[in-house]
């Protein structure tokens, strides 16, 4: 399904129909690499990832210590007065401790009738300051972003972000460099099989830019809470459904909701034996928002990857 949607949205990136996420390599046939990537997922002992199928909102779920989760988040959209695009964020998430998760994101995008870009990376850390489970569980989030203006992954919406930011031609957008720090307060609760999460976002470009603010809210629930006694792939407990809402709240130079973007997006996640497939369709609520944002995600977990690396590098466990 994902390939079909990507093909629908990404043609024609180049005349040959080939595309690449590495700058300077557009036109290179990536099919063999893609096949190797898929084969790796088929062969290595992966587990289904456990986090909720949110695309923007973070919950209190952290990675289990020693596990490495590989996740892709694809955003497909068509800004007004511009061409449709597909942006891919590949996320490597490692559980350093049960209360501390560290992540690396690699971002890229391809715009129809334009070009394909690697748009940068992000490093983030999430820490649970309270060791016990409470009614509301806070998680602190700190991120460093080194991206270009061509980044279209929409992993958060802050300040006065709007569809005009996504409509710039890649040649211009890639010249703008963004060194940003981002801080989030994540509040999350698990009650009666529901997860309800609220994120308060503040972001600062290290250049002479104002602080920008945003929010993300999400709620999800499995369709069935009781596990069945037989292995099954298509039973109700394998599906998690919910919705998220996110948007910008202005910045310190203009702390208003004018020209801000807001989205509401139903989401669904399907737990498969080798990973989690998730899908969302976001609807823009204001004039600055994109009309629709389609998102597709795949997450898979490598169990105890840290111990494996340590044992193969001769370190002590």
């Amino acid at each position: 399904m994902r390939l079909h949607v990507l093909r629908t949205f990404l043609i024609p990136v180049s005349k040959s129909g080939h595309f690449s996420l590495i700058p300077g390599l557009s036109g290179v046939n990536c099919r063999p690499l893609f096949v190797v990537f898929l084969s790796l997922f088929a062969l290595i002992p992966t587990l289904r990832a456990q986090e909720k199928p949110y695309f923007v909102t973070y919950s209190q779920d952290l990675e289990e210590p020693g596990n490495l989760e590989i996740e892709t988040k694809t955003a497909l959209a068509e800004p007004g007065q511009s061409h449709r695009y597909g942006a891919l964020a590949t996320e490597l998430e490692y559980g350093v401790k049960a209360w501390w998760t560290s992540e690396l994101y690699l971002d890229g995008q391809a715009t129809a009738q334009d070009s394909t870009l690697f748009t940068g990376f992000r490093l983030e850390n999430r820490v649970r300051p309270l060791m016990r489970e409470h009614w509301i569980n806070p998680v602190l989030y700190v991120e460093y972003e080194n991206t270009s203006g061509g980044d279209k992954t929409l992993l958060e919406v802050v300040g006065h972000d709007g569809q005009s930011d996504l409509a710039e031609p890649n040649a211009e957008a890639r010249r703008e460099h963004q060194h940003e720090g981002e801080f989030k307060l994540i509040l999350s609760s698990n009650r009666k099989a529901w997860n309800i999460s609220e994120n308060f976002i503040s972001e600062k470009n290290f250049g002479h830019e104002p602080w920008e603010f945003g929010y993300a809210l999400g709620a999800t629930r499995p369709l069935r809470t009781l596990a069945s006694g037989k292995p099954c792939g298509f039973c109700r407990e394998k599906f998690i459904a919910g919705a998220e809402m996110y948007g910008g709240l202005g910045d310190t130079w203009s702390l208003t909701l004018g020209d801000t973007s807001h989205y509401v997006a139903p989401i669904v996640g399907w737990q498969l034996p080798k990973g989690r497939l998730s899908f969302s369709m976001g609807f823009g609520l204001t004039g600055s928002s994109l009309d629709r944002v389609y998102r597709i995600g795949w997450a898979s977990e490598l169990p105890q990857a840290g111990a494996w690396f340590r044992s193969h590098s001769g370190g002590a466990r």
Binding site: M131, N190, A193, A227, P303
Partner: protein, 129 residues
Amino acid sequence: MRSMPIRRGLGLLCLSIGATLLLCAAASSRWDRVPAKDHARVNPLASRSDSIAAGALVYRSHCEECHKADGMGDGHKKPPLRSDHIKSASDGDLEWFLRQGDLGHGMPSWSSLPEAQRWQVIAYLRSIQ
């Protein structure tokens, strides 16, 4: 010269406080921290015939990577689940511990699992003791 008895006294005081703390820690079990109302809870799914099989599948998905397929742990940081410690716990103790986790010692909180699935895991843990 006068400071020697003071130092010795302080040393003895620290030693006795340390020993008391160690004795207290040894005497108290992890389950002593469980609130009374949680401790008293009984597994509502224990009588269901499919709970053990379902719990085994949940265990395989979430617990096996650390505690191993036989529930014996890794002999290091991941403790065995077939032990007197687990046998002595009430259903409510185990459910509370799964929900809370022990983040400081590497055990994640499993509050994200639906409560029914936590009870199913407990039914499975009881079956392998």
